[in-house]
Symmetry: C2
Subunit: 347 residues, 2 copies
């Protein structure tokens, strides 16, 4: 390893010249370059789609599931499911930080990676013997490498780890929402009772939104939102709309009746077919932020064109500088969001 | 038909309550609501993917291809290929404009629709007997209905019709580019020798771009760009880069060497796998506009996150107010763009 690349190009074995995420195989050897960090890994959090695929492929047999995951990591030097293409993230402790690493990490710090396992060099020892293979949470021993442009967050001492991980998993959404929402805006959050949705609602409030309209699919979710604690004067959502986000006309009419359309609409539900409803619930000149991985690029582009909708449509980028700190601070300071996360992570 | 909807909801037969694009069947009856316009259709321009699917399904047999298209239109009340889901556009002459139509059209005007055939009520008479079924250009007789929020452009007298249609087909790209590019910006156009790419380059120049870097895949395309006429002092692209846009590292290095990264990068090539290269060719804090329908939403979102790239990523909305007029004006006033379109449309 002569010169290292901030993107990790020097760790790519096969095929040469591609980015680590696109690579078939990475070099996961433990010696670090001056701008790298080595982490002692204690847990993998597999992407849900990846875990499901492996579990189904081996009919739930724990031994075979463990062997399959071990084989992928040993073969590829990273945990990237060859069928789904997806990875997950990990937690661990900083073991060694190179002198020119810009990540600001120190040995002994407990961290979570915010970049995907699909691009993180990883080696496992000990055969995953502590994993029952019944969930995507994989206790393990081994090491991983962070590049200069990898992203990792130090896990805070004052929050339960499952809660912090759940917050970090979606921390791009509130950061981008806060950047886009302007003082006095009407903001529609589709999926307001979910993790990214509730954080985005709190971020919109922090940006000075005049009104937050929370869309949920069921009366049960609406009830959940209504029963949350409120900060001083304002609830998480000023108006709660129960609607099927896949029904553009129905959704837009209900949002309209609740004080819409939105100047900004944030799509936080991982359900296909929400593009039209989001566009139609947004004012001309407004912005739609798509955070759902179920978003169809062509449905969004053609849908807006077909409705002569002059809306700015953003691909929800999971990286915004400072996103982890912002999201953790929101969960600390917003009782309603904290309650939701406590419920959803079983804290 | 009692009350009409600007989006055409009143024309939806099956299933009720959905948008016209999502409908299985539309009501194409010729009587218009006060805010509608009826057009005498003379030509359909089928979406290339749709035409290819039908041609292949019927092994190129002209009689069967004609019958298949007629059957779709008769059954659905619109030309939407049930397999590909796509449509196309049409040209025709305004026959009757309702008194409250906001489109500003007058009987006798020759127009092209800028909304998809997938949401346009359409009826065909005369059996497509003038269509040889050898191309997606379908001479025909019949009528179509425009809603209040449909978009149509009057075909100009001073430009050949094939040229105008080619310009209108991609007119969203230069309009959004002009809106996003700021004075003094470095702009990277991926696919600069193409239709949407060349118009976007001209639009970037009009917005005051300091430097336009045009990316093309081959030396032949580069030569084509170099040989275009220039306006006063500036060529269409200040720098020409020959690179494979699917190779993120290779592309970004060449763009860098040519004066990049871009403050704005515009993706105008309909090739899958260009997301990473576009992101990596863009400066932190910059913007990527994806106009390619081959764009993968998840590849863009995960790619930016994986590279810790703080870039704003826009879904290229085909509708921006004034887009048709802007694009036609660009082709009139930019000799290089005019030459490219003349070559590509055989004028």
């Amino acid at each position: 390893m002569t010169t290292s690349s901030p993107l990790g190009l020097h760790r790519v074995i096969e095929p040469p010249g591609v980015l680590p995420q696109a690579a078939w195989q990475l070099d996961a050897s433990p010696a670090i370059a001056p701008d790298e960090v080595r982490v002692r890994v204690d847990r993998l959090n597999l992407d849900a789609a990846s875990y499901r695929q492996i579990r189904e492929a081996y009919a739930g047999d724990p031994g075979k599931i463990r062997a399959a995951v071990l084989d992928i990591i040993a073969t590829r030097g990273k945990m990237q499911n060859p069928v789904t293409g997806s990875g997950g993230m990990l937690t661990g402790t900083v073991e060694e930080a190179g002198p020119s690493s810009p990540l600001g990490l120190k040995p002994g710090q407990r961290i979570a990676t915010l970049v995907s396992l699909t691009l993180t060099p990883l080696a496992i020892t000990g055969g995953l013997s502590h994993w029952d293979a019944q969930s995507e949470q994989v206790p393990c021993e081994g090491h991983a490498i962070l590049f200069a442009r990898s992203i990792a967050a130090v896990l805070p001492d004052d929050l339960p780890i499952p809660l912090s991980l759940a917050v970090l998993d979606v921390c791009g959404a509130p950061a981008l929402t806060r950047r886009v929402v302007k003082q006095g805006a009407v903001v529609v959050i589709i999926g307001a009772a979910g993790k990214s949705g509730s954080l985005s609602a709190a971020a919109a409030r922090q940006s000075g939104a005049a009104k937050v309209i929370g869309v949920v699919p069921t009366e049960a979710e609406a009830q959940l939102l209504r029963n949350l604690p409120t900060t001083q004067e304002s609830p998480l959502a000023d108006e709660i709309v129960i609607a099927d986000a896949r029904d553009p006309v129905g959704l837009a009419e209900k949002v309209q009746a609740a004080g819409g359309p939105g100047d900004v609409t944030v799509v936080c539900v991982d359900v296909a077919g929400c593009e039209g409803g989001a566009i139609l619930s947004t004012a001309q000149g407004g912005t739609v932020i798509f955070f759902s991985m179920a978003t169809s690029f062509s449905a969004a582009a053609l849908g807006a064109e077909g409705m002569a909708a002059d809306v700015t449509m953003l691909v929800g980028n999971g990286y915004v500088p400072g996103h982890a700190e912002l999201a953790l601070e929101l969960v600390r300071t917003t009782p309603s969001v904290r309650r939701l996360f406590d419920m959803r992570t079983g804290s």
